[in-house]
Amino acid sequence: MNFTFSEDQEIFRDAFKKYLESNVTPEKIRSGWEDNMPFNQARWQELEELGILQSNLDEKYGGLGLDLVTTCLLVEEMGYYALPEPAAEQIFLSNLLINKSIDIAELIEEKNQFIGVTHSLSPNILFLDNSSKIINLEEDSISIVSSKDINGKKLKSSDPSRDLTNFISENSDSGSLKTLNDQKSLVNNVVTSGMVMSAAILVGLSRKILDLATAYTLDRKQFGKPVGSFQAVKHMLAQAAIEIEFSKATLYRAAYSLDNDNPLQKLHAAQAKLQAIDACEMASRNSMQAHGAMGYTWEMDLHIFIRRGWSYKQVWGNKSLLENYIMNQLEKDLPKLGSTYTFL
């Protein structure tokens, strides 16, 4: 039992953080919004060069073959900096599919290009124009479509970093490149992975949202004192800090269970996502309140992060779905869960 990160994991994470710090600033995100091009092709290129995009891809496909706990840490930082490019999706959805299915791997030649993945829990296609292929997951089948062959209608997300397309139909001439049947277990695996991914993004976002608030309340004065010296403001941010703290270990266990194919991985993933949603809601609400009227303006950076939270709490498992799933599992398996079964 060693529930700490290895030095390697921390070094990789910190190096990536450094990259994000200077390359994914609020100014750069805003300029992507203004140009209506949130997906920055140059940055995607850099992410590839840094090995981020292939971090968990099998070595036989030219990847680094890293485990999902390490990549979970990377995704948490993508959340922290609100990276617009779908690197998290590439790692936790498409790479996972490639690693686990030779049929899919064969079809994907250029593994550094973005491959969108859709499912009823995340039905709208993310960055269709920037993706080479789309993998569509049904309950027990998987079909791969060339992104050129998709007819869709652009949708406007409340997060301008998300370029979404409504999947209307496949181009009738070409159809799917391939459809795989009897894929229930793989689909389930991707859904679990999507839960962990979105949880990691939410945890990263929550940390950032809290950091913005503490910085703001140190600066800003009211009635002659920094806003942050009022006990009410302290306590609302302390409460957010508590929620965030207790979302972390749950997230890392989920990533570990996913990586180790633990039979309880989906339960762990659902718990992680739910805890992360709670943390992000609390952080968003209280941070906004601590900012006063300024937080509510477009010019402050706060909303860049809060918006992403609104989206990621809903895709790949929202509150109702997660709660219902957990309650069903508990009802079925309670005697085999609990304190003596925290780790299998």
């Binding site: 509510y296 109702s320 309650m327």
Partner: protein, 383 residues
């Protein structure tokens, strides 16, 4: 105690219901925080006025209907039931209007009241200044008298509607030697005056619900002074009174939202979890509790009682409720809840309302300040 509506109240309800059914635009207007929507809403004010419905609480002598508070609540219930457009001129009708009636000269009343009622003049408010926040006495924008003019210099912020409005009203420091709430004057300023610059402040929804107003040697005629020079603070306090606050936060608004939330819930019930059920139910309970409380308060006011710091209780209550309701709706909508332009299930309006609901606990005195007031002035706890 006799709770229930009299025959004349019921008749009044039917009258306004009938008029609204005929006149409310079938297609929702554009947001009044866009240029186009602003003019659509100005037209709606004119239309309301054509039926004598634009300033129902004003006394009849000023062209209103002299509604009492209970009738006003009925009016609001019908207004929200009919999904009638938001009131672009609420700063004028509910805040400045009554103040003018009390403190304005005959000439001022003549000039401004009917132009306000018809929507010819849409008003913004100019209370806040940068750095002053919730501390309204920290005003620094000056209006020094020079002959028959006031020369205004400084900056106002968080001025609602100012992006497209015609006029603004607010407090200005007219006595250079004064401090805090002394030496302030209440002045009306046309926004097309020379030296006025309006800089919109885009909000979460991207629209400029508020603006900053810069005054650079702006000259206004002394006839635009309301009440006496240096009396601004007491006039402003009257403007901020409870009854007018109530008119901006009608319980019907929250009850309509709760009903809409319940419909959405029942439509999707089979997939929803206990936490959603619980929040939906709480929304209903609390919207009703708020309405009942307001009816009780309105009755007390009509019986001649005064309402003071009690209004802080309501501010915290409705603002938290409003946020909770909208967040719950988005949780029901799930993956659709981020789609800003989807009309089905009212997604677009839930999102807009959700963004707006973040401001409830902040504006008009943050909820933290309200809780201080409750503790210190209602519960008698030490400062």
């Amino acid at each position: 105690m006799k709770i229930g509506f009299s025959d004349s109240q019921k008749k009044f309800r039917n009258e306004i219901r009938g008029w609204l059914e005929k006149n409310v635009p079938k297609i929702p207007l554009n947001s009044f925080d866009t240029k186009e929507g602003f003019e659509e809403h100005r037209d709606w004010e004119k239309k309301l006025n054509s039926g004598n419905w634009s300033m129902v609480t004003w006394p009849e002598q000023y062209g209103g209907r002299g509604l009492n508070l209970i009738e006003w609540l009925i009016f609001e219930e019908e207004y929200y039931r009919a999904k009638a457009p938001a009131r672009v001129n609420q700063n004028g009708v509910f805040l400045l209007g009554p103040t003018l009636m009390e403190y304005g000269s005959d000439k001022q009343k003549e000039k401004f009241l009917s132009a306000m009622a018809t929507g010819e003049h849409i008003w913004s408010q100019g209370w806040s200044e940068p750095g002053a926040g919730s501390d309204m006495a920290a005003i620094r924008t000056t209006a020094f008298k020079k002959g028959d003019k006031y020369i205004i210099n400084g900056q106002k912020t968080w001025s609602s509607r100012a992006t497209f409005a015609d006029w603004t009203f607010g407090l200005f420091r007219s006595d250079p030697e004064s401090e805090r709430h002394r030496g302030l004057s209440f002045i009306l300023v046309p926004l097309d005056a020379e030296g006025v610059t309006v800089r919109p402040i885009p909000q979460l929804d991207g629209e400029p619900g508020f603006a900053e107003i810069y005054f650079d040697d702006v000259e206004v005629d002394v006839s635009n002074l309301l009440g006496g020079e240096g009396e601004g603070w007491s006039i402003a306090m009257a403007t901020a009174g409870f009854e007018r606050g109530l008119m901006l936060r009608s319980p019907a608004r929250f009850q309509e939202t709760a009903s809409k939330l319940l419909s959405l819930y029942f439509k999707n019930k089979d997939n929803l979890s206990g936490s959603i059920e619980s929040k939906v139910l709480q929304s209903w309970l609390r919207a009703e509790a708020y309405a009942l409380n307001i009816y009780q308060t309105a009755s007390k006011l009509m019986a001649g009682k005064k309402i003071g710091p009690e209004s802080s209780l309501g501010k915290v209550f409705w603002s938290e409720l409003d946020h909770q309701m909208h967040q719950t709706a988005l949780d029901i909508l799930g993956v659709s809840s981020e789609l800003e332009e989807v009309v089905a299930d009212d997604v677009a309006s839930w999102i807009k309302g959700y963004m707006f609901s973040y401001s409830g606990p902040i504006y008009a005195g943050t909820n933290e300040i309200q809780k201080n007031i409750i503790a210190e002035r209602l519960l008698g706890m030490p400062r």
